[in-house]
Amino acid sequence: MRDDFVRALCELAVDDPRVMLLTGDLGFGVLDEFAARFPAQYVNAGVAEQNMTAMAAGLALDGHKVYTYSIANFATLRCLEQIRNDVCYHDADVTIVSVGGGFSYGQLGMSHFATEDLAILRALPGMRVVAPTEPWEAYAATRALHASSGPAYLRIDRAGAALTTPNPGFQLGRARWIREGKDATIIAIGGILSEAVAAAERLATLGVDTAVVAVHCLKPLDMEMVARVVASTPVVVTLEEHTTVGGLGGALLEACEALRTFPQVMRRVGLRDCYPTVVGDQAYLRGAYGLDAAAVVKQTIEGVRAMRQAGNE
């Protein structure tokens, strides 16, 4: 997904001199092409994320379209107040790009796990929160964000499985149905969508007809999607490589409250309120912390059972 973001940004920078890419001294081997082709539009701000983000606001207030780039929490939590006060309050045209959503850097340890970023960034007024689910979507979202303006957060997985072919109808903010189903719907955000698809395939063999919805935009959340999901299946499961506090599951329930309609059974699958203390690759940690396909299958079946029991009483 990293490369898809950079490819899109290179294309955009050719025609738009307003595009500026600031990195916090990260992106070895990833940003080389951009740096070589657009030296006047590339700045290594050094290991100084607060200043990088404040500068981004200053550049944006002077007419640039600025992208700040770093790994995991460095582009977000380290400089959160600069994002809040300097970028968001001034409606500055800055896209904060964080590479390594969730457990992308699973062996590097807790400091490199981005597992609270969606909730925290989502709380900022004016901030759009985008976490592409597939590589082509990272490319499409980068282009779509460039076509808009204002603060945005782009969370990209380091890698990411290609599940579908690029959809020419992609619209920023509109969720996509990967498959239909009548018993349950799994809604996933970010690269962990691949686990949702694997879970749905397994559930089908167990007689549970499961829809999968890919959400790349947490804020603003696609309200039509929420209404359709609640109306179409009694069981709704959310999946995110992120804490269950305030992320996709929380946002979905908030949306349900706003719409005055709720699923009959709801399960939120994500990282329970803790800091992981062991390391491993992304697939290992998803399994170890209960957010892989097996965990989704288990939660979905429990949800379907709970719904059927309630129906029999």
């Binding site: 200053g58 600069q82 300097d86």
Partner: protein
């Protein structure tokens, strides 16, 4: 920044008169609003008056004019002083200052750009202004634009690491368009700078980070004008005007008294403060 806009007559008499009006507004605004930070405004009133009165190229009729010099107040808690300067320069009617701190007003205690023409950046959390100013200076640098970016900081806010990050960057990239004015009154929120977190040797630190530094009496208008006329202090380097000031300047009972960082002048105190400022006027 180039030539002062008051190109004739006695520039210091113009800027000194502006400083007196800013101080008068400051004590009245903080009294009416029962708000803090009157001493912080008095400390920087001469700096703001010289900047808005003679140095910054700004146009009240076109607050967003692209060729303007950019000014950021990083010590946002002294926002009343910038609101007063902007009103006096004609960015909006002086009567609007009466809204300061009032329910429903946009004139917040910490400076805000929303609904206030002429304010470039909202601040209030310390250590933000220099970084944003560096971004603006970088933008000017890239476009080879002739305007300057001036950011006014307190001394206490140099406790913030973000300022030093920003200065490192500005020096590395030779951003001579940037001028950082430091209101060095040596008093912070609870105690002196020396007792809180020592900055000295402050000038040496700033120079070691790559700035061209000019030390000046921050209440001497002629000296300040001379300093701004000398920019840049060093070729290819960001500038720092290290302005030695007195917190609470102009109201003797507030000068160098830590309590006036938070206290609001009420009743007899307001009367005495206004009298002290009026006694200071040349025609008194």
């Amino acid at each position: 920044m180039a030539a002062p806009f008051v190109g004739h007559g006695d520039t210091t008499s113009v800027t000194e008169a502006l400083a007196r009006r800013i101080r008068g507004h400051a004590v009245r605004m903080t009294s009416r609003g029962k708000s803090s930070h009157v001493a912080s405004v008095l400390s920087m009133a001469d700096l703001v008056a010289v900047l808005y009165g003679a140095v910054l190229r700004v146009d009240p009729a076109r607050p967003r004019w692209e060729g303007r010099d950019r000014f950021i107040l990083s010590k946002g808690h002294a926002g009343a002083g910038v609101y007063a300067a902007l009103a006096e320069r004609g960015f909006f009617p002086v009567e609007r200052l009466e809204g300061h701190y009032i329910n429903g007003s946009v004139f917040s205690g910490h400076v805000s750009h929303k609904g206030v023409p002429g304010v470039e950046l909202s601040t209030g959390s310390l250590g933000h202004g220099v970084g944003v100013a560096v971004g603006m200076a970088l933008a000017a640098h890239r476009r080879a634009a002739p305007h300057s970016v001036v950011v006014l900081t307190s001394d206490g806010e140099w406790d913030e690491g973000s300022n030093w990050e920003a200065l490192l960057f500005a020096a590395h990239h030779g951003l001579h368009q940037l001028t950082i004015v430091i209101d060095y009154n040596k008093l912070q929120s609870l105690d002196t700078v020396d007792a809180t977190l020592r900055l000295e040797p402050f000038r040496g630190k700033l120079e070691a980070f790559g700035a061209g530094v000019c030390e000046v009496d921050g209440h001497d208008h002629a000296a300040l004008l001379a300093a701004f006329a000398e920019l840049p202090f060093r070729q290819g380097a960001p500038n720092v005007v290290l302005a030695h000031t007195v917190k609470g300047k102009g109201v003797p009972f507030m000068e160098n008294q830590v309590v006036w960082h938070y206290r609001s002048p009420q009743g007899e105190e307001l009367v005495a403060a206004v009298q002290a400022l009026e006694a200071d006027a040349p025609d008194a």
